[in-house]
Amino acid sequence: MASPFDGFGRLYRGQTTVNFIGKRVVGFTVSLVIVLSGAISLLVQGLELGIDFRGGVAWEVPAGSLTDADARGVLQKNGVESANAKIQFLTGAGTQVMRVQVGDQPEDVRLAVQKSFAELAKTELQEVSVASVSSSWGRSITEKAIRALLVFFVIVSIYISWRLEWKMAITAIVAMLHDVLLSVGIYSIFSFEVTPATVVAFLTILGYSLYDTVVVFDRVQENAEKFSTSRQSFANVANVSTNEVLARSLNTTLSSALPVVALLFVGSFALGAKNLEEFAVALLVGMLAGTYSSIFVAVPLLDLLKQNEPKYRPFKDQVATGPKMAALMGVDSPPKRPQDAVTSVADSTEIADSAGDSLAKRATATLTHPPRPRKKRR
């Protein structure tokens, strides 16, 4: 059997037996390196804040054949300091737009420059976009966003603590901070401009990251209940759960990321919507990070918090791998809780011969023998 297909087949059937917990050092190291380099970049060069946060004026002119020098000429003619002006050319399908950003300017200067640009580009005045933002505005929206975030953290922690448990709430938030820090770090390293759309993207990442972590933790909790009678280490519970949701995680990431990739390519490269491009980059990075962190950061971290609980402590060092894990996962059948057994009796009236089958499998699973070969069913 060709191994890549084999791997895919196992993934499709949910039969992978990757020891995520055992390899947590790798995951933690990778995350730490990325996050730290992002943090260092944040400290050293900070973020490239757009005019919405710094305050200032931006004009967008259909460029045609305009050059950098033309733009500076216009600025100087109107008495605007052009040394610090930031001039970008945004290329799209057939059209090129020149974006000129300077510090705060009074109203009449804004209008005068807009008129000059319109003359220069030989277009209507209306075709030149102007945006002006006072510097206090940026501060106030940033403050509002941060306040919103803090409130959100509290609400989400309470919700997860109630719905799952408080240790999961903590790890979910750590994983989320990891994702946001990672994306912010990338913005800093590559000096992408931070606009309100970027803030939206960061918030999306945060929401998505939590969403993804909750889905994984939900399975962890379900399995913890399932295994509660079978004396397992938490690492086993975590490993089994992660492997079980692996197919779902990859699928969801793909289907979430595809629209974003489309946004990135169609929106920015084909149609030249620059604002969409950076937004999509932030989102893409964040979504990939969100899936990664749920599996490689959140779950191993949860194991660190939980492995010493009285319930799991005696089995702390027993980590089943390979076929043993497969047995635990019940790649043939998971060990069932007593109340499950009742329902499965109901099932077994319908499936007369597979009932005996699953009983036998339940036994193998709890005794952690190597799995028996699958019986052929009709």
Binding site: P62, T95, L111, Q114, L125, Q126, E127, S129, V130, A131, S132, S136, W137, S140, I141, K144, A145, A148, V151, I155, P196, A197, V200, A201, L203, G207, Y208, L210, Y211, V214, V215, D218, E222, V245, A247, T252, S255, S256, L258, P259, V260, A262, L263, L264, F265, V266, G267, S268, L271, A273, N275, L276, L283, S333, D347, E350, I351, S354, S358, R378
Partner: protein
């Protein structure tokens, strides 16, 4: 869980969504586009200095009235916390936008020179004179005074005094000194006055406090008012509607000092004595070029520190007047914190980019799911179609009724939610796979999978929804638009999962045809008893 109910729910849901979609399309409701998608001007204002919440409401109303008066199609004026966002689609001249809304509204107290019905056809407009001689004199009962204003009124002295506007129904006379002349605003007597308008030297800027100008109130009565004698700042910001002897009135305090009661008393005395400066004895309260109220002054001096304006108000009118007085006392001065024009070309480019990438994104996802889940992916496609129909209806309806506009960040919210919506199916299908593999029939697998998948989906969607709500309440601008669409999508996901996906998949799972077939790439067990 019975089959009939599932079919009914399913059909009903599809029917309701289809019907609302058709209804919305028929009514011509389409999602309104935000400025960043259709071009226009957007101005964000933040109050500067002292202001109060009531004042802010009035300020927003003033801006709304101004925008309406110039006839901008579908303007959007939103109060987000203390911040006012004014979006003017199609207005591409930033200067024009700033001129419309940048001015500070101020409540001016201007003596009325003449009032009546304006006749624009006549070369020299005739105004029905409303002098006190042509109006019946009435006065207010004393009971109200003793309740509200205390001893000052009972003694007949110039205590807490009253000014009465449009008091057409007040007839009782018990306290002689508080006479209430009728101001003829409801049934004006058309009398040609001695002074044609032309002689008054009318100014052309109704907002210039130094000119004599022609103004109107909301019912169309015209007033020729002189230069402003004072502004609303003579009042304290404590205006309250109040019932006085069964009638609604507004009581407001006067500030003390040169700019407060002294200024007011000088003006009141001039009107009370009907000096040439104020021949009608009426004092108009003018806000943003509109006469709000033009009461007659009944006291030469207001030593009690409060002014009462009474008349035939309804409760709402009194409340409205109190609100405006409060605004007048503390006018909200705005600072422009963000001004933006987006050219129509740029806007439509962004819209096209967003739509094309959205469509391509959805197609890619559908292909992926078809490749991975084969026939089961049809449920996803059907479910997504219903979701999109539902979202379209809701957004169109809200666009029409609440002025909700779909902006670029909103579209981002929706694109992101595609992933979340598809995830619900993935969680469900992966569960079914697990269950089938453990040897259950398709029917039992589907039933049990839904229960556990539902738990997960609700938990995860709740987190999204909490995020959306928090962001919606605590932020401004584009983040809010994003939050709104994220929240709506999360709710839709829950709704569609429960009512559509569950029923559709369960019906499929128990259908005779599906038994014993390969589902999701796994051979299912054929039950012996159906």
């Amino acid at each position: 869980m019975n089959k009939r109910r599932q079919v009914v729910t399913l059909v009903l849901l599809v029917f309701v969504v289809g019907a609302s979609l058709v209804a919305n399309l028929a009514a011509g409701n389409t999602p309104a586009l935000g400025l960043d998608l259709q071009g226009g001007a957007s101005v964000t204002l933040q109050p500067a200095g002292e202001f109060d919440a009531t004042g802010l409401d009035v300020a927003v109303e003033i801006i709304r009235a101004r925008v309406d008066s110039i006839g901008v199609a579908e303007p959007e004026i939103i109060l987000q916390g203390d911040t006012v966002v004014v979006n003017l689609p199609g207005v591409n001249d930033q200067q024009e936008a700033l001129n419309i809304i940048g001015r500070t509204g101020e409540l001016l107290l201007r003596p009325v020179l003449q009032s009546g019905i304006y006749n624009p056809d006549a070369t020299t407009t005739t105004l029905p004179g409303t002098t006190t001689s042509s109006s019946p004199s009435t006065s207010l009962p004393a009971t109200g005074d003793s309740v509200e204003d205390g001893a000052g009124m009972i003694s007949g002295g110039p205590g807490a005094s009253r000014v009465v506007s449009t008091a057409t129904t007040i007839t009782a006379t018990t306290v002689p000194e508080t006479t209430v002349p009728e101001t003829s605003s409801t049934e004006p007597v058309v009398v040609t006055t001695e002074n044609p308008l032309a002689d008054l030297g009318l100014g052309d800027d109704p907002n210039d406090p130094t000119q004599t100008v022609l103004l109107f109130d909301k019912s169309g009565i015209a007033y020729v008012v002189g230069p402003a004698g004072a502004s609303g700042k003579v009042f304290k910001n404590d205006a309250q509607p109040d019932v006085q002897t069964g009638q609604w009135a507004v009581v407001v305090g006067l500030r003390s000092g040169v700019d407060g009661d002294q200024l007011w008393n000088r003006l009141a005395a001039a009107c009370f004595n009907k000096t040439p400066q104020c021949p009608t004895g009426q004092l108009a309260m003018v806000l943003d070029g509109t006469v709000i109220s033009a009461p007659t002054v009944n006291e030469p001096e207001f030593t009690g520190g409060t002014v009462q304006i009474s008349g035939s108000f309804t409760a709402d009118e009194a409340r409205e007047l109190a609100k405006i007085l409060e605004f007048g006392a503390v006018p909200v001065r705005f600072e422009v914190s963000q001004a933006q024009t987006v050219s129509a070309t740029l806007g439509s480019d962004s819209l096209r980019a967003a739509i094309i990438s959205g469509v391509i994104g959805i197609l890619l996802v559908v292909l992926l799911l078809l490749a991975y889940y084969r026939t089961m992916a049809l449920f996803v496609i059907a479910g997504m179609t219903v979701s999109i129909g539902f979202l379209w209806s809701v957004i169109s309806l809200l666009s029409r009724t609440n002025g909700l506009a779909l902006s670029l960040s909103g579209i981002a919210g929706i694109i992101v939610s595609i992933g979340i919506a598809v995830d619900s199916y993935i969680v469900f299908f992966e569960r079914i796979k697990d269950e089938i593999r453990s040897g259950k029939t398709l029917k039992n697998s589907a039933l049990r999978s839904f229960e556990s998948a539902w738990r997960t989906i609700v938990a995860a969607d709740t987190v999204s929804f909490l995020a959306a709500i928090t962001l919606w309440y605590l932020t401004v601008g584009s983040v809010r638009g994003f939050a709104f669409f994220l929240g709506i999508s999360a709710l839709t996901d829950i709704l569609i999962t429960y009512f559509f996906t569950r029923n559709a998949v369960l019906l499929f799972a128990r259908s005779k045809r599906a038994q014993g077939r390969k589902v999701l790439g796994i051979q299912t067990v054929k039950p012996e008893v159906m």
